[in-house]
Symmetry: D2
Subunit: 304 residues, 4 copies
């Protein structure tokens, strides 16, 4: 498969469609990005790397960082993590509060805000200097020391993140948060402020296409079984209330963020990152979703 040709071709086709999405505005800082930004980068296990458009520009990866938090927590505590957070899709955001109540503070999966807050709590309990240790981990598995948090974005979220403060305290009221809610939230907001480019994202996440091993040196970041399970979770829960739609149209495990980024994994093949800031009504990148649908249709590669 000539991925380089295919990516360029699909990119040109999608680049000029009307973008009906809207930039996330609930955090003032997020709305400052250029709405026309559009970048794509693919990294294959055969060491093909190619990008197009704004693939080298850093953006706020937001919820994509939840996968990284999950990975580190999974390494640290193993399957005990599943005592604190489930592996089921959640239905709608609307239901998540009801379900938290019905499930007594156990979030349905680690990619809901509630779930990532619980994962943050686990990390705080298991890291000496959570904020530093986490970024060190991300840098080490990507061999990229330039990765970092955006204080600007984190601060912006801390000022208006009432919904997340509510979630964290609600879970705490069920005894399912062990640390102080303010510490957990601080870490969670830092987490979501991580900035990466499409190139950095696809390179970082490639190990999930390679059974948990870094392609460069075969170092195990996760066991094969853990790696498959993280992919399975991205497949069923990675796109909020549009996870089924993504599986249906794109057919790959993936994760989106409200910064307009999407990472998708084709096991045994490649990792691909797309970035376009305008979001559809479900909160996923409008152009990003269309690009990936077209890309997997044209490449005739989906896991199904």
């Amino acid at each position: 498969m000539n991925f380089e040709y295919l990516i360029r071709d699909v990119y040109q086709k999608i680049k000029n469609i009307e973008d009906k999405g809207e930039i996330a505005s609930y955090i003032p800082e997020l709305s400052k990005v250029d709405p026309k930004s559009f970048g794509v980068h693919i990294s294959t296990i055969n060491q093909v790397n190619c990008g197009i458009g704004n693939y080298n520009e850093k953006f706020s990866i937001q919820s994509i960082a939840k996968v990284l938090a999950l990975i580190l927590a999974y390494r640290l505590v193993g399957d005990e993590i599943w005592d604190r957070v489930g592996v089921e899709p959640s239905g709608t955001a609307f239901n998540s509060l009801v379900q938290l109540e019905a499930d007594k503070g156990i979030p349905r999966n680690p990619f809901l805000n509630a779930g990532a807050i619980v994962v943050s709590d686990i990390l705080i309990s298991n890291l000496r200097n959570p904020k530093e240790d986490f970024i060190d981990f991300v840098r080490s598995i990507s061999n990229n020391t330039s990765l970092g948090y955006s204080n600007r974005i984190a601060q912006s979220e801390k000022e208006v993140g009432y919904r997340n403060i509510a979630l964290c305290n609600f879970i705490k009221s069920f005894g399912q948060i062990q640390n102080k809610p303010s510490d957990v939230l601080d870490f969670y907001f830092d987490l979501c402020s991580l900035e990466m480019s499409c190139k950095e994202l696809s390179e970082l996440f490639l190990f999930l296409a390679n059974n948990g091993l870094r392609v460069e040196n075969n170092e195990a970041i996760l066991s094969e079984s853990q790696s498959k399970r993280v992919n399975a979770l991205m497949q069923t829960c990675g796109f909020y209330d549009e996870s089924g739609e993504f599986a249906f149209k794109v057919g790959l495990p993936g994760k989106s963020g409200v910064g307009g980024g999407i990472i998708a994994i084709h096991p045994d093949q490649y990792a691909i990152a797309v970035w376009s800031p305008k979001l559809n009504k479900k909160g996923n990148s409008h152009k990003g979703m269309i690009f990936l649908e077209e890309f997997t249709t044209r490449s005739e590669l989906s896991i199904f």
Copy 2:
């Protein structure tokens, strides 16, 4: 991969574990089955076929028939079907009524009872003799004229199916059922009464592992894209409130029924059917789930 050896080995291992499940008892007829029944059959696109245990015994496939109803409706009306039913996981059964209300009678996916009732309504509107035409379709794609409904099971469901009568009339109250509720329910209960053996199931569903084409003659039952989408739906929604767990542990698209049957698909490889009547708390075959987890772990084959 020597599937024959592997299946026998895993079968022997799982056969004697304690079965903590319980036979479905809400329909009196269903509870008459031998609780120790246990059968497995695999069919590969390379024409390997092998079974073990009660793989040749017919049982009530129940909700597995929802996939067949979806396939026929998808053939008949194409993507218009998605105007009437969604493609998203539903969260819990508990939420499905709330979601039906919030979504004004559009079920979240075709594998919920609500969704299959809507698919039944579509079939009734598009078939001349729904009950006969449907079984003819199933027989034709499986090249197996022995397949049929169980009047005994269908009658048993019609007598106590209050929850489904409620669902159908609730959807009708939103104007999302076009035929008479009693006609739709009659057809739906017939559908769920279909009986097949593991052998028949894995042979019938093999085309979903083969991009929609029957392996024997390359006849297209679904287009490649439709076939992938049906698999994606089974991946995200096939196991009620345990769909995430199945993706997580087994990693294959599949569908279960309260009769204790499970069909799972490995795209480009095989279809496998398992039957063991005792159900876990989520309503899926207790031994069947364990068998498939062990089988995919041992074969190191999951789609992730």
Copy 3:
């Protein structure tokens, strides 16, 4: 208090306000009424009776009949009725299905459709000829043999009452309906088709202002305690999702119907019936609510 003067004065004031309500249209037959109909009738325990406008015209009392069904069931089975139906307000219609699920088929109160369906089931189990016996009871306590069902309205409801069919079968699925759903629904739809004039309503319900005793002859229709409890239920649950608003603005126990009728009780004083078919967004008579608010404000009589 000169009720006659006050009623005329308030009637003239309210008669000409713009009526922003809408006639109930979900049952075709209900929408055939003259939207400008407006009648009021009061009956006091001091035997004052006076009416104005269309007070002598029969209309479909709809849900007001739920109070009559409750009264007869309360007489027949006493406090056992509260094993089958609660006495708490329900929050919104939206929640009633969720609550039915959470409460395993026990409706929150007898004035919800779900609750009245359960009361209908109790009546069927305890009456020899439910339809005839019920109308005989209503005629006897009102000393008015002209009262009767409207076959036209009942038939109209039976044809489109999908939501109620859904509710009845849903409750049946929890084992909380003892008779056949179709029998229960038949009786329930007959019940709701009762027709009365404002005059007949206020005369019939006057015993609830008189501690359960008919004013003419002191015959006990309910015990004093039962009568108070029926009033308490009307106070907290009589106006669907607007019960709090009615208590807040009018301050009397009462019950409304989608035919545009309202009955209200002032204990130890009077019963008053209002009819105006256009409904506000909560399903209660728009002018009727305004009339009663003005009437209790002007009379300085509320129970609070």
Copy 4:
């Protein structure tokens, strides 16, 4: 009516029944009270005052203070308060979060925690020194300078009040809290820490039985209409998920607190306060509810 005799008689009867309730334990400080405490005090508009048992002992009035907060806010902003909080019963606690979401941060009524938090926000916006001004108001309308907050209780709530922190931030996320959540919560926790005896409660609340006027000097604390409306709210919403039951069995407007106190109002007659710390499953004083049911049954005085 010889209230003095009746209260003593009912008190003796109820005193020795087995108390199946449990003391509130979610706030450590609350559980330090003597579980056998039991006091009653009545104050009539004819200036009869009598108490029995621990009627002169101060206890934590908890949610009863929500009525006082409502009264002060109602005085300060009039009917504008109803733009921020509704007047409808809420169904269950379970639903309140769903309803807050559906109603975009408008609580169903001012006696829910969510509603009292919004009322607290209104008070903070309208008082110069909220904490001092509020206690001054309470002292002035009761002519009792000994009333005050319990720092011990307030501190205890601030340390474990995660559910209320969640509620406040959730409402803030809808833009329905104007001040800083931490300020609103501080005030709310102070509010709930108010301590009074039964004697002080019944004397303070007597004006609600007197159309809003203090009995001693006819000073208007609320207008007649406002006073009736506060009573109506207590009738429909004063006892959490047991409001219907209280109306049904006791038949008076009232308000309970998890400290085991209940205040009830008989318009035009009296205010009565009961205290017994063990709570029933709905969070209301077990003995208090039984006492009031027996008292109104024996006195044949209910508003219905």
